[in-house]
Symmetry: D2
Subunit: 215 residues, 4 copies
């Protein structure tokens, strides 16, 4: 493993993953929204032309502001269809993952438990999780592992926007705290560092025992 | 229950549901692709203007021709995003479901077990399943039940297109046969006829014991 | 369909199913705990000797009183292993289901979302759900359908024991009410009445849109 | 992290985990079936008296020989209920997990996709997965993480017993090979080594992209 591309790598979970991979002496391209806006397909295509292969691709992007179903406009759907789904498809189609590499998707626990505020996110992240599952079987032939990490409540700017009183909210969580972006960063790093390859085609909840479904 | 709208009601499962509901003396609008093409949002909006309320809405539409991920074009994604996802969102936003009514989604077992040939279908049907789940909680307040039926191999023209040798294929199935569209039609009818309302927010596999996952 | 056996048929959901099937002019054996105690394997075996075939078998039984993990005794585990799991296995092994028949399991939504109070119930009902899934494939060859109904909060004595303030609790539910046992009874009846056979190997949440997981 | 107990640690996956943890300079007690037979509750209780606390507990045990449902005896059920379920419950009840520790369960992909040969294993491993999920919420308060790893086809003696022609079988797998026990060992090690704690209450398929369900 020599190089990695981290989409949405300028802050939050993406940044933490980028930092963790850099500690392995990897060359890491970490994009901010200015450099690569996944809601803009031209931006996506241009990026994929400039960076057309990698060992590790981290697909990570923020979600839309909370909106109830009946106030979501057609433009909202189309924008986030690009940002959360189609942009990632184009990246995967155009960036060659080197043999033995990794694709990590940072999705969200809303792919299993959607909610009324994050309905767009739940929908399109589910959709892309389905795509990645299928691709994991193709990629397996080239020893490329596809790992879908579905974070629960993590200590990011995003969470602070979504949750009114974070201190109170933390008390309701099984661990009494939000997860730290660095925990996900270290998890990704530990998989790469130990060259764990048979972990593929999997959705991994990363939520501090917060979700209620077993399977 | 007096009237129903069956999208994709001119053949296959949609037609069988429409016929079953008509046997309950309901007034049924069943659309063919000529009358309502869910891949065309103008067509969808026009339809929703003409038919802006109903007791029962059946969301049903065919899927795309089989295509592997790396040959799917941006236009393919956009077309089927309309057909399998956005068109349904617009219908739900614009057609009022009368209190005590029903929304049935005819999705597919690919929402749980996607496959490389039906990757588009798996993605967008998962996405809409997520949306309907969220909406089921809102609709519950008005005693409207949302039921997602996920058919496995059913005896439709579609299946004949997808499966090369249907006779051989049937022998591999637990029941030794495809499901009949009428079985789904009768299932929908039986729910409506018996006014079963507490069945809501649920995905029901309808696949003759073919799938392998328990939950 | 001429006859049915309803285990735990003297009250609650079991009774409602028994009544619904009787309305189809079926001969229904409905057992109370006095007649058949599924926690007592001798009782189970004796019953299965006397009633060794049927068209429809309804596997239904109450759960244990709420207990946290660290206060559950070995005897508790063993008793409810019999009641919720092994007794049902013995019934299925010894009662012949006639060709074209049905097996309905009334499990619980705790098979997907267990909780600390109902940990025994969650465990053994999950286990039996797994068994029934496997058997559904064998039974399919004889056109016998296996349907696992997983009720959420239903208006039974059991629920009143578990929930302190039922009136307050109901207000928190999406439909603003508990489900009625008759709704499940009618659902079972409607499947049998319409001879819906391709619905098999399935878990059907019956919870008024209360659960949060999509799939 | 100073010490670990690995149940079933004398061969296969258990041994690989024990070796991996030892490479972290941990003191590891790894039990063979002679030392601790989880199908024998006396053996389990005696062990838990001698070893009544640990930082890391690895719950791992072999499964029963393949048997179809109708040939499983009551004694089979009771034996493997002990081995795969009740023995683990007794261990968890009697061995104190130190604050900040870990419980790893090595279950199997049959908890999601049971099959007719491994019906006992599917049932009781599902049941214990349900228990561990519930406990993960309690343990979270003490910063103890509970992680359920559900292996697919791994290169163990067990797999060689179950699969007739392993070479042919490997060709059917997405990665063209079985997983190695060391991969799971390294995975467990990497989590412990990096002190990843927010990963808890989760089932992680470890199957080389072999399973078909997304979620």
């Amino acid at each position: 493993m020599k190089d990695a591309i981290v989409i949405g790598g300028s802050r939050g979970i993406g940044k933490a993953i980028a930092e963790a991979l850099k500690s392995l002496d990897m060359e890491v391209i970490q994009t901010s929204k200015n450099q690569l806006d996944t809601s803009n397909l031209d931006s996506v295509k241009k990026f994929a032309t400039l960076h057309n292969k990698t060992d590790i691709l981290i697909l990570n992007t923020g979600g839309p502001p909370p909106k109830e179903f009946f106030s979501i406009t057609e433009d909202d759907w189309l924008k986030y269809h690009n940002q959360l789904f189609l942009g990632f498809c184009i990246l995967l189609k155009n960036i060659k993952i080197n043999d033995g590499g990794y694709v990590f998707l940072i999705s969200s626990n809303v792919i299993k438990e959607p909610n009324s505020k994050l309905i767009i996110s739940g929908a399109y992240r589910s959709a892309f999780s389905s795509v990645l599952k299928v691709l994991s079987k193709d990629f397996a032939k080239k020893n490329i592992s596809c790992i879908n990490i579905a974070p629960g409540p993590i200590n990011t700017d995003r969470t602070k926007e979504l949750i009114e009183n974070v201190d109170e909210f933390q008390k309701t969580l099984p661990m009494g705290r939000l997860g730290e972006p660095e925990e996900i960063g270290n998890f990704v790093k530990s998989i790469v560092q130990n060259n764990i390859k048979y972990l593929s085609g999997v959705v991994i909840n990363f939520d501090g025992a917060n979700s209620n479904y077993v399977f």
